[in-house]
Symmetry: C2
Subunit: 318 residues, 2 copies
DNA sequence: TTAGGTTGCGAATAATTGCTCATATGCGGC
DNA sequence: GCCGCATATGAGCAATTATTCGCAACCTAA
């Protein structure tokens, strides 16, 4: 068959989806796709590329590599974790977020598959955002999704890394965003913000969440808090001088995994996670830059779960 | 980095998984994979091919094409279905099972994601088997999985199309296989088989299942019942003469979707599904050969759900 | 209306991938 | 120890895919 016309309602994405389906599921060549869809060969190639670029195509590896499982066991033992997942690394040069995002998505899907209603709290950041993009859509109306920190960027717009909305969209669960900046201008402003009734309720839910998935921010190099304009270079320098090596939901902590009492921490509006035995707090982070931050969080018991990659896992164990 | 050695515990599948991960998730070329893993380029290519052949790599299309949704709505309306899914076709020449298996897997995963404990009954056959291979592993211990028919081939061995074990494996739910042939030698033997206590229990569970996923067998051409040696050509001819156009879990039915009272049906040991309003009975079938069988099952209300492909859906609507 | 810019297309070409074949590398049987 | 047999390997080549480039259509603003 050739020249089957797409119907009037076919959007560009529909076409891309069809081409990618024929390519990846059907195993057709681009020439065959072109013939099937009545388009040129290069258009078929462009449609397939578009489908991948738009995130229409999800690839999962359904095989646990023994090397990763060993590392998971070792991490669990060394740091007393409740859960550890180690993703295959993509090589030294590659962005480790690409490797851990699908694995984190898998773990979060596993959490949502739990029949008992849960409150799942989510942080923000590039890594979590990448995780969300890898998640499959599935209805889990029994759960509730809480935000751990505000989704407002310093300029007042909703942050581009909005995680909670996208997750809620995919699993169709109730969600409780926090209309807050990540960092307030002054400690007083912070106190004012978190005394607002809707914020009080949202924070209460997040504080009592059964499961939390958070990213880990580093203090060395170009910290996310600086890159995204939440703090200035001087403020970061000050935190560093006070011993900060990492940050979770904006809260800076030192080498031993103890939250700092001073500096910018007095202005963080988000929830500070405290480890409680029955809670699962999973850090999702990998990469050489984040190593010190992850290690401190594990040592101080700020988290009791970790999703990382091979290279980082090896470093954390040495 | 080049020449990172796989550790002593790396199986061939582990290597294949790593290569495929670098290829599909990391977007590396086979040359880069070869360098990273310290192997030759063609070995990298073979590993990637092996990972795909072994089913380690799962590809999903996360986009609902409007054309398919239209067809789903139309099928739902015309046949009064509770659920309809239409997969993009892979073109006239391709095996439609390849197209519907991933979509069926997605729907079954959706069923298993339900928080309330369910009894899920499964049929057998090539289509269901292909569906299982596409399923993701996820723990759903709240559900139970029942078999609708025996998994024994005519020669007494366990059938190669054993669906229930594989599903139970993937979702870690309790399962209740049926140690029975699909077709007994005589009606008396059938009655004897189904009076055995363990079989009585397994059948009772399957009959009261909340959800059933079944394949549809055709009577024209080379019917699965004949191909797999459950019935002889003469027996099939007899069924055909009695008006049989299709078969579900072995039970033959006619043009109007009414189960035959005679012939081989008296020797079928599996459960005959009766539509009950609160049950969801989903047929998973596509292809020109199965068209008459699917249409009759829909018309007669033997099923109230359907997963098929575009071409078949169009034919069922014309 | 026209200049400037943007987008989409096909052709050409470079890069990558898959296949075939000849050869090598064990491995069980004698 | 030696002989088939089966399996795995790398080289070379054919097929397929990705990218670049130039052109044309279309849109926008003067």
């Amino acid at each position: 068959m050739s020249g089957r016309r797409e119907e009037e309602t076919a959007t560009p994405l529909d076409q891309a989806a069809r081409a990618a389906w024929l390519y990846y599921v059907g195993g057709a060549t681009q020439d065959q796709i072109a013939a099937e869809m009545g388009i040129s060969r290069q258009r078929a190639q462009r449609l397939v590329a578009k489908a991948v670029a738009e995130g229409l195509i999800h690839v999962r590896l359904e095989h646990r590599v023994s090397r990763c499982m060993e590392l998971e066991r070792a991490l669990t033992r060394k740091y007393g974790l409740k859960r550890a997942r180690v993703a295959l690394s993509l090589g030294k040069g590659a962005d480790p977020v690409k490797a851990i995002a699908p694995v984190a998505a898998e773990e979060l899907e596993r959490i949502f598959a739990t029949p008992e209603p849960l409150v799942v709290a989510l942080g923000t950041g590039r890594t979590l955002r990448a995780m969300v993009e890898e998640m499959r859509a599935i209805d889990c109306p029994q759960h509730r999704i809480a935000s751990l920190n505000g989704n407002m960027a310093p300029d007042g717009t909703a942050s581009a890394f909005d995680v909670i909305m996208r997750v809620a969209d995919k699993v169709r669960a109730r969600h409780y965003p926090m209309p807050l900046p990540l960092v307030a201008a002054t400690p007083e402003e912070r106190d004012l913000f978190i005394s607002l009734p809707p914020v009080v309720r949202a924070r209460a839910l997040a504080e009592n969440a059964d499961v939390a998935f958070v990213g880990v921010g580093e203090m060395g190099g170009e910290p996310p808090l600086l890159k995204d304009g939440f703090l200035t270079a001087e403020e970061i320098g000050e935190l560093r001088a006070q011993g900060a090596v990492g940050e979770i939901t904006g809260w800076a902590y030192d080498d031993s995994g103890t939250y700092l009492q001073t500096g910018a921490n007095a202005r963080i509006a988000g929830v500070r996670l405290e480890r409680v035995a029955e809670k699962l707090i999973v850090a999702i982070a990998a990469g050489a830059k984040k190593r010190a931050a992850i290690k401190a969080a594990l040592k101080g018991g700020l988290v009791n779960g970790l999703i990382t990659d091979e290279i980082t896992a090896e470093a954390l164990l040495s």
